[in-house]
């Protein structure tokens, strides 16, 4: 089946996917996503660390309003977290691979690409997220 990312330029796939961020040319600070439009001139593309630690999280318990939410009609609560990619940036993303109540701040995580939605023609829309990883600290 065909797959398509929720937006271009957010992540690169492969065995260990990475998010694509931006590094500010003057300050050296990292952001995600890589800015577009006029702001893009201030940033260099920067692949982000595929591993990090959970900084904070919550569970989205009700289906957000559509628009803007474009997820499946059938709603399952999902976990939203901020993940600190060491020395770079704290990134927001979906958390998967753990029961809703078992997430803990400080957990080791790695970047994953997840199915977000299946379109009528069978195309799978993908989105970035994080799952528990072996603790290498």
């Amino acid at each position: 089946m065909a797959t398509r990312p929720i937006a271009e330029g957010l992540f690169e796939g492969g065995p260990q996917p990475r998010l694509i961020g931006g590094r500010h040319r003057d300050s050296g600070k990292y952001v995600f996503p890589l800015p577009s439009g006029a702001e893009a001139a201030d940033y260099d593309e920067a692949p982000l660390s595929p591993t990090g630690r959970l900084w904070s999280y919550t569970v989205q318990r009700f289906r957000p309003k559509s628009p803007p939410y474009a997820g499946p009609e059938a709603f399952e609560p999902y976990v939203v977290g901020y993940v600190e990619l060491p020395g770079q940036v704290i990134v927001e993303g979906r958390l998967v691979g753990c029961a809703l109540d078992d997430w803990r701040i400080g957990m080791a995580l790695r970047t994953v690409i997840l199915p977000f939605l299946t379109e009528e023609d069978g195309t799978t829309i993908t989105i970035h997220g994080f799952e528990p990883a072996e603790d290498q600290a």
Binding site: I6, Y30, P33, T58, Y82
Partner: protein
């Protein structure tokens, strides 16, 4: 510099009032404030006013009287009321005027606010993915704060219990029934760790304040409340704000801390001098964090403060004496001015069943909102 005084206050009750527009409520609040001050609309030399979603404040001249006065509309998100008040006070301090109005009103549809990614400089995928929710921001911010500073979920519940208890005693509040702690903790989980009863809702309401120079206030013979500070600040680098796809690893300060410090400096007092405080409580975690960000306690001390009831009406520092946003709801343009209204009530000793003890002389108000703005006032009598 001579003081700016608050010589009249008016409110249209918060909550839901079918068939009444936001502007109607603004007009009602101005009329009520004029009556409280004992002046007439033609006496008013200038006005600053605004709403976030209910239209242009200056259209109310067709209802109040086309006296030709200077009327400037203010639209500054959650700091709309605070910005109107700051600017009105500055107009008096400059010597340009002696008597004016600051007014704020709003009427929001039911349910959560409905922001569009493009209006926040964000790509569409961010909204598609289900991140465009203020509730997620509040929950993730307090979750981390709880972890770092040892705040329990029970303490989040105690803040809500206090809010509904106080709201039950405030005529202008929306939610007038007390809710017990167990009900709050067991209510529907919205965004962990925050339950339904821990969030405020968008609502309706209006507040107007009549401001006068010290000379004018004396001439009016009123016992004026002095506006010792009115500050508004925006976010510094490294703050944590709503709708953030990423955050700087180097964590920074907050708009609240900047506005608070500036207000204490302007007023020449410190947190220990404050007798009663109204702090932004969009949800219960916000009140907890804002107790520390405004300098009233150290991070983590809130756990003990709430357990001991120190922020209740009979506590050492009563906080949100009319139930705050949790009990009054949040009409964006009016919310900050409601806090000042409530502080004037408390300083006048007119709080009735919710009057704080100890003959309060100094009162503090604090608004915080998207995208990282804060407004603080300090009143004395």
């Amino acid at each position: 510099m001579s003081d700016v005084c608050i010589v009249g206050i008016g409110i249209h009750r918060f909550g839901r009032t079918d068939g009444v527009t936001g502007l109607d409520m603004g007009v009602a609040a101005v009329r009520s404030a004029l009556a409280d001050a004992g002046v007439e609309w033609p006496d008013i030399q200038f006005a600053y006013g605004g709403s976030d979603a209910s239209g242009n404040a200056d259209t109310m001249v067709s209802r109040l009287g086309q006296t030709g006065l200077q009327f400037i509309n203010v639209k500054n998100g959650c700091a709309t009321g605070g910005s109107a008040l700051f600017t009105a006070a500055s107009s008096i301090q400059s010597g340009a005027y002696e008597l004016g109005v600051a007014v704020g009103f709003d009427k929001h549809p039911r349910g959560a606010f409905d922001p569009k990614p493009a209006e926040w400089g964000l790509p569409d995928w961010y909204g598609d993915a289900g991140y465009m929710l203020t509730t997620q921001f509040f929950a993730t911010k307090i979750r981390r704060y709880m972890e770092l500073h040892g705040i329990s979920q029970r303490t989040l519940g105690l803040v809500a219990e206090k809010a509904y208890a106080n709201g039950a005693l405030a005529e202008h509040a929306w939610r007038r029934a007390p809710v017990d702690l167990d009900t709050i903790l067991a209510s529907q989980m919205v965004s962990d760790p925050l339950t339904k009863f821990m969030f405020c809702s968008p609502a309706e309401g209006a507040v107007a304040l009549i401001l006068a120079s010290e000379r004018k206030a004396r001439e009016m013979g009123a016992a004026p409340i002095r506006l010792k500070a009115a500050t508004m600040r925006t976010r510094p680098p490294g703050s944590f704000e709503v709708f953030a796809p990423s955050l700087d690893v180097e964590r920074g300060g907050t708009a609240t801390a900047l506005a608070s410090r500036a207000a204490f400096e302007a007023a020449g007092v410190g947190p220990e001098d404050i007798d009663v405080a109204q702090l932004q409580d969009t949800e219960t975690g916000a009140e907890i964090m804002h107790m520390a960000e405004n300098g009233f306690c150290a991070d983590g001390e809130q756990e003990q403060w709430l357990a001991e009831g120190r922020t209740r009406l009979d506590g050492k520092l009563p906080v949100n004496t009319d139930g705050g946003c949790l009990a009054c709801g949040e009409p964006i343009g009016a919310s900050g001015l409601r806090q000042v209204y409530e502080n004037v009530i408390q300083l006048r000793g007119a709080g009735g069943a919710r009057q704080v003890g100890g003959d309060p002389k100094t009162a503090y108000s604090h608004v915080y909102g998207a995208p990282g703005v804060s407004a603080v006032t300090i009143l004395t009598r």
